[in-house]
């Protein structure tokens, strides 16, 4: 029971990041699962995917849509690639050992963060 409450709070934290940054929330859930709840990296990633299956961002989308911040056509075009790419990526992940997996995750996250933060300085 105590553990379930922990999962619920992990979800709220992931959800706030999701709505705030327009992301799925996995990048918050995975560190929480891995570092606080001691899940092994692959299990943290697999479990994060479960949390992302229901349309958890629905209320957040409505908040953005009300302000006119949704580009619907681009969104629709992105969906098929994401689905197929997801299967491919998961097949690759199965071949990586757990510790290396966490390092791959951290390194990619850092690069994406740097791209996002420093990209604005050029404009």
């Amino acid at each position: 029971m105590k553990k379930s409450i922990g999962f619920l709070f992990a979800g709220v934290a992931g959800g706030i990041a999701s709505g705030l940054f327009g992301i799925g929330g996995g990048i918050v859930l995975i560190p929480i699962f891995g570092l606080l709840l001691a899940f092994e990296q692959h299990k943290a990633q697999g479990t994060s995917l479960v949390a992302l299956i229901p349309p958890t961002g629905l209320l957040a989308v409505l908040a953005y849509a009300k302000a006119g911040y949704v580009h619907w056509l681009t969104g629709v075009l992105l969906i098929p690639g994401l689905f197929l790419g997801g299967i491919l990526g998961a097949k690759i992940a199965r071949r990586i050992e757990p510790l290396r997996m966490r390092q791959v995750f951290a390194a990619l996250l850092f690069l994406l963060g740097a791209w996002q933060a420093f990209g604005t300085w050029r404009r």
Binding site: V12, I23, A93, G113
Partner: protein, 134 residues
């Protein structure tokens, strides 16, 4: 132009499966820098893309390996629905530029925390012990 968008989706999808994330962390920078969207528009569009179960195929792959905790995942999903609404309410009134930098800083910070943890736990794993710290 449409082909570029589909390809962006495919690249982001590979990371969805590889990292077990929603894909927004890839989509948002790609929409901002490659398609020149404003930060808010990119984030709203990304959230819309994440509504259908795009990670389902990836999830089935993880399930084959038995590395999924459904109980934890379902509880998280309930919390996320509520948190997502709160986050959206905070982000919409913020300035686009501030939001962009906030997002980038947030990603880099989480990356450093994770990397530090991954390296600390490395001694029992001989294959990864050659990796440096953060």
């Amino acid at each position: 132009m449409h082909i570029v968008v589909v390809l962006i989706g495919l690249c982001a999808g590979i990371l969805v499966g590889l990292l077990g994330i929603g894909g927004g962390v890839v989509l948002v920078p790609a929409l901002v820098h490659l398609l020149h969207m404003d930060q808010h528009l990119a984030q709203g569009t990304s959230l819309f893309v994440l509504l259908p179960p795009i990670g389902l195929g990836a999830l089935l792959e993880y399930r084959k390996k038995g590395v999924v905790d459904f109980h934890a995942g379902i509880y998280c999903a309930v919390g996320m629905l509520l948190g997502g609404y709160l986050g959206g309410r905070i982000a919409v009134p913020m300035s686009s530029r501030l939001l962009t930098q906030f997002f980038g800083g947030f990603l880099m910070l989480s990356a450093l925390l994770l990397w530090g943890k991954a390296s600390k736990q490395s001694p029992p794993q001989p294959t990864a012990s050659s990796q440096g710290g953060a």
